[in-house]
Symmetry: C2
Subunit: 370 residues, 2 copies
């Protein structure tokens, strides 16, 4: 029996949509049917998630619909143009028309690739996000960023394309591996750091319950995260300004992911280390009290997230990869830093010397902990 | 010395943009500069057009800009995901940031692929159309449809992505091969047929001057075509309804292009034959006087366009390929027909029997003229 615990709204004019948070939503055919454009549906998932949940979603769709299932391999290394092509080719082979709705059932990779496919197929078809990982539930499924990676940079090819609805089924977190749960918690912590000190304080207290997957704690964390994200996205859909604060830790994090090879580090793990680097830089600038560093370290450690950059990554590698980041505008690297806990800002004046000092220090610390 | 002869506006709210029609606009740095987002520019062209015009555009951009030139092979057969990838890879290699503007200098293929690249690169960068063929000037450069082809269907992968400006330089038509000029005239004739009987009558009188590339006649034909297109697009940007009338002849035409292999027939040639088929079907339904058939035949012949379907194409091949068309919605093939000259409508009730009769007749006529 499905239960909707919260309904949020992402307010984007004619592109507005609801985010439902609840239990057993995957099996709720009535909610799904509200957001389908026609009788044709394509469910995109991956090899790990498909056996767990696709039959359930398919069952919820009921009779009388033409449904194509498209299953990708599991992992960030498959978030590629090649996977995009595979989806598009299957849609063409099965003669899906423009009235098709693509339903993404899986984590951030599935949602990002399927969403980009929805944006491109016949110049745009309907799209519903059914995120089954914590990271996708609190971050990537809301806001309309879709993309694939390129060997020269993460998320470099994509579209802003809003879903018609997001269905967050908390029950799906019961099958999530611990490492993936932790990766999702990194993005949850991010919201506290960038714009909600009370939430940041709550997380320090609630972390054991979140790791124990207590339903009420998870629902609270997801609802707060999605509300904060929805507000930021509504104010700045295409990242003209404010939305960039959601990228706290991401410029460093993307460099780690790209250098290690997509899939070696989880996105949330790389973001955790990146947030700590951004906090250290903010402290070095005198913007945040140095006492906040051990607080964040303790929280990340509690969430079972890494604190140090990967062995072997030099400042040169970081600077080279960060120079390719989307946050570079007219030659200036833009970084998200903190003016205080809960107060993010975007700077374009980070000097190479400043970054080099930060990264040399990070290399030394990573070595000393090995 | 550049001269702006007409400035039209495509009215799409915050996505509105001007269409400039004039002489020597390619060399007008001031007009270009008005629509650049930053100091970074990528010019996308093809092997045929690049030697003629890219240096001119580059010169007009002046000093102090970082410019990357990307040259594709010439032809519809290169309107592929592969060409898209090539553009995106070059942009990444040259570290183009999100403030880059992509300028498409060429025909419809260059504009469609470069526009799709602009839509996808870092989820969207600035885009300026500089169409150098008549077909691109009167049709594909205005309205924001971008796409690449797939072996299973034409324009199946793409985006609605509006340019920031369209610069139509009539001088560039002096280097256009005669066959390409004729292909462009097919789309010009289309506007008369779907919504402007006076323009249709004018074309019958002006055709010799258009073929002789008389500047004033070309400027008039381009201005009328772009105005009609801008009005239709402003009323229905994403082809929810009205915009579909711009596809007169295109469902038949796409089947011809796909069956013959992209590039064998020019798009305008296939559309010419397709328009005649749509007119014949409209006559068969009793909606248009049969006397209009020889009128259109004479006009197409005068414009040096084909009248018959390619040898070897059977009704079965047509019906199979048309069934894959984007105009199929929930299993119904939608076709643009005429209620009269200058009055297009979209029908969803064409029967297989009706189409089979039309296409059998077309096969017989093609044979008898061989």
């Amino acid at each position: 029996m499905s239960v909707i615990m919260h309904t949020l709204h992402v307010d984007l004019g004619e592109r507005s949509y609801p985010v439902y948070i609840g239990r057993d939503l995957l099996a709720d055919g009535e909610v799904l049917a509200r957001h389908l454009g026609g009788s044709e549906v394509a469910i995109v998932s991956n090899e790990t998630v498909a056996p767990l949940y696709v039959a359930k979603v398919r069952g919820a769709l009921g009779e009388g619909r033409r449904v194509t299932e498209i299953v990708l391999p599991d992992g960030e290394q498959y978030k590629t143009l090649h996977s995009l092509e595979h989806i598009l080719e299957r849609l063409l082979q099965e003669r899906h028309s423009r009235s098709t709705t693509i339903i993404a059932v899986g984590g951030g990779v599935v949602g990002d690739v399927a969403g980009f496919a929805a944006a491109c197929y016949q110049r745009g078809v309907g799209f519903i996000q059914v995120p089954t990982t914590l990271l996708a539930q609190v971050d990537s499924s809301v806001g309309g960023k879709t993309a694939v990676n390129h060997p020269l940079g993460k998320n470099m090819i994509g579209a802003f394309y809003q879903p018609r609805a997001v269905l967050i089924d908390i029950d799906s977190l019961h099958t999530l591996p611990a490492r993936e749960l932790s990766a999702g918690l990194a993005e949850v912590i991010k919201y506290g750091l960038i714009c909600d000190p009370a939430f940041y304080a709550w997380l320090q207290e609630a972390m054991p319950r979140l790791l124990a997957r207590e339903e009420s704690a998870l629902a609270e964390a997801i609802e707060r995260s999605c509300s904060l994200k929805a507000a930021v996205v509504a104010a700045d859909e295409r990242e003209g300004g404010l939305r960039a604060i959601l990228n706290l830790g991401h410029t460093f994090g993307h460099a780690i992911e790209t250098a290690q090879g997509y899939g070696a580090w989880l996105h949330g793990e790389a973001v955790a280390v990146g947030m700590l680097l951004a906090l250290r830089l903010s402290v070095a600038r005198g913007w945040v009290d140095a006492a906040e560093i051990p607080v964040l370290e303790a929280l990340l450690r509690q969430a079972q997230l890494p604190l140090e950059i990967p062995a072997g990554m030099t400042p040169e590698v970081f600077l080279d990869l960060m120079g390719r980041d989307k946050k570079v505008v007219d030659g200036c690297l833009r970084l998200v830093l903190l003016r205080g806990i809960g107060e993010a800002c975007v700077v374009a004046d980070a000097t190479t010397a400043e970054l080099d000092t930060l990264l040399q220090d990070a290399v030394a610390r990573a070595k000393s902990r090995c």
